[in-house]
């Protein structure tokens, strides 16, 4: 194992132009991801938490070069991903995989399960057809689609939502990825099925711990908590807090994290009705025209004058990172 982190994300930005202009460049940008930094070791697992418009999915897609970055650097296993040609990215694709929210949309509806998974081997390896089908069977077993023979010849629409998500996971781990990003992996599933998939993701993580880094993206902190060690809270394209997930839940530092944690419905009436609540005001502002200073200040109960002036930098407090003037001297 190398001495460097498996994944390094440095000053990554993704701006989308808005408004159309016939001539010249558009003057306005949506800063979907604005200057994100983090690194992840082998065996690391990071949750990215945020609500709609936080840029969490965009960030994942930029890291995987599914979107072209505006600026910044991403190193996977010391390879500078943003400097690769599209062809080189394609060759590297099996090593960095993503699991999406809607499994139906990410599976080819006209192909059988064995072809969907087998295709990965066909494209990226030169193993024989016999070996491919062995590997596919092995993968189906790994993701709990047993007996595999029952699923090989089925089409995606013949499976339930949970089973489809299992197929997606099987395909993602087919060629031992180094980086696995799951974007809202259970949101589209039935409640009773969610637990199964969470369990599976955990199993996979345990099994590949020595070679993989995990990123889970969700609006649901509880889901992140059940899979990840660390978490990053994003608000309007910016990281507002990063630390161990337990600490964020127990003692969130950033007022937005506090608001988010106290908003989560708890399926326990005793806790739900007796916990302290952060008063919530307003809604997430538009990314096209974000507020001046700290993006959160219009909703923040502790807002000070300087919050309205300048975006607070991400500073270290007790081994945690937070972007809030409450914690700077």
């Amino acid at each position: 194992m190398g001495t460097y982190p498996l994944l390094r994300v440095e000053n990554v930005k993704k701006y989308f132009p808005v408004g159309r202009a016939l001539f010249g460049k558009s003057k306005q940008y949506v800063k979907a991801v604005d200057d994100v930094n983090f690194s992840l070791d082998v065996g690391g697992s990071l949750g990215i938490v945020g609500e709609s418009g936080s840029g969490k999915t965009t960030l994942a897609k930029v890291i995987l070069r599914l979107f072209e970055p505006t600026s910044g650097k991403v190193y996977l296993d010391n390879i500078d991903l943003f400097s690769l040609s599209n062809k080189e990215v394609r060759r590297l694709r099996p090593k960095m995989q993503m699991i999406f929210q809607d499994p139906m949309a990410s599976l080819n509806p006209r192909k059988k399960i064995k072809h969907i998974i087998g295709q990965v081997f066909k494209i990226h390896t030169d193993i024989s057809d016999v070996e491919i089908s062995e590997r596919v069977i092995d993968l189906l077993e790994k993701v709990g689609l047993t007996p595999p023979e029952l699923f090989l010849d089925r089409y995606p629409h013949e499976l339930s939502g949970g089973q489809r998500q299992r197929v997606c996971i099987a395909r993602a781990i087919a060629l031992n990825p180094k980086l696995l990003i799951a974007d809202e992996p259970v949101s589209a599933l039935d409640v009773s099925v969610r637990g199964q998939i969470v369990k599976l993701l955990l199993e996979i993580y345990e099994k590949y711990k020595n070679e993989i880094a995990y990123i889970v993206i969700s609006h649901d902190i509880a889901l992140i908590k059940s899979i990840c060690k660390d978490a990053l809270v994003m608000y309007l394209g910016k990281v507002v807090e990063k630390s161990e997930i337990g600490k964020i839940i127990e003692e969130p530092l950033h007022p937005y994290s506090q608001m988010l944690i106290s908003s989560i419905p708890v399926p326990d009436p005793e806790i739900a009705r007796n916990r302290k609540r952060i008063p919530i005001s307003g809604e997430i502002p538009s990314l096209i025209n974000p507020p001046k200073g700290c993006y959160f200040h219009p909703r923040c109960p502790y807002v000070m004058d300087r919050c309205r002036e300048k975006m607070p930098p991400l500073i270290e407090v007790d081994n945690r990172l937070v972007s809030c003037y409450l914690y700077s001297e």
Binding site: G195, K199, E283
Partner: protein, 324 residues
């Protein structure tokens, strides 16, 4: 809270007639709602919880039909199932209001939101358009919407998701109904907005003394605002109970599984369980107890015979052979 009922549902059965066959979406549901109480109907997609809500409002699609049962509205004990369309129209909006899931699609895109709120007031209270519009603005103010007059003159697409959902709530409560039915009222919203909307709902039903039927898949939001919980599975009620006791001591294996299936911030990941298998196809539901193929405790009787919903103590009823 007095103990008089506001709504009583007896043996209600609603089927959908589809090309694949008859879908038994709601199959013999019996339930009552007390005045001033908030009751939750919890289930997954396909459990029949939304169909139940739409059956009470008699707003079913053309291919669905109420096959059997009664829905009595108190104090007169009128049976909504047997009302004429015109009579039912007078119940909708005025005596039972409904809140819908998706604020993006449930508001008319080409009508100002103030007019959409004013409509019911005009029809049920005979107000003129100007009076009703004024009432609509007052209502928005009551929902603590800043700059209510301005909001009333906007179109839905000019409002945020949370604001639109508040407009939907305003429409539902515009005529002071005694009963409010909320179908997944916060599912389409962000977490922080959801918390706000829930808070608003809680305050509203308290201030206006309304009863609430909350239809949801989210046990979290139920714990926040409901007194009683009904768990539905595959068109049937499997357990009903008072919220605190049901969460602390769930009796039906499905309820137990459901409570464990969702990760929460207060649980360690090893506690997350889940239920094996998938919800059944309601065209061909399993024989006996509909949960038996997924139940870890299923035995021979469960496959053979359907368990009735039996009261186990004062405030709890369970449909399971284990409990009998």
């Amino acid at each position: 809270m007095n103990d008089s009922k506001i709504l009583e549902i007896s043996n209600l059965t609603t089927y959908y007639y589809t090309s694949r066959g008859i879908v038994r979406a709601v199959d013999g549901v019996t339930l009552y709602v007390k005045r001033g109480e908030s009751i939750a109907i919890v289930g997954e997609s396909g459990s029949g919880k939304s169909t139940l809500a739409f059956t009470i409002m008699r707003l079913l699609p053309d291919n669905a039909q109420i096959v059997n049962g009664n829905i009595w509205l108190y104090p007169e004990k009128i049976d909504l199932v047997r009302l004429s369309n015109d009579e039912m129209r007078k119940v909708r909006g005025r005596r039972i209001g409904m809140i819908f899931q998706d604020p993006m699609t449930f508001l008319n895109p080409v009508m100002k939101v103030g007019d959409q709120i004013a409509e019911a007031i005009m029809y049920h209270h005979g107000y003129t358009k100007t009076e009703a519009r004024r009432k609509a603005v007052e209502l928005l103010e009551k929902l603590r919407i800043p700059d209510a007059a301005n909001v009333a003159s906007r179109y839905p697409h000019q409002l945020s998701g949370g604001m639109k959902q508040r407009v939907i709530i305003a429409i539902a409560v515009s005529c002071n109904p005694e009963l409010l039915i909320a179908d997944e009222p916060t599912t389409a919203l962000d977490v922080t907005v959801q918390a706000e909307v829930l808070e608003l709902l809680r305050r509203l039903i308290q201030e206006l003394g309304m009863s609430l039927i909350l239809v949801t898949h989210d046990l979290g939001i139920v714990a926040e605002i409901c007194n009683r919980v009904t768990i539905m599975y595959a068109g049937k009620i499997v357990e009903i109970g008072e919220t605190y006791s049901l969460y602390r001591n769930p009796k039906h294996p499905y309820t137990i599984g459901l409570l464990n299936a969702v990760p929460t911030i207060h649980k360690s990941s090893s506690e997350v369980g889940g239920i094996k298998g998938n919800p059944p196809d309601l065209v061909n539901p399993p024989t006996g107890c509909r949960f038996n193929p997924r139940c870890p405790y299923a035995f021979e009787r469960c496959i053979r015979e359907e368990p009735p919903l039996i009261e186990v103590n004062n405030d709890r009823a369970v449909a399971c052979w284990l409990v009998v």
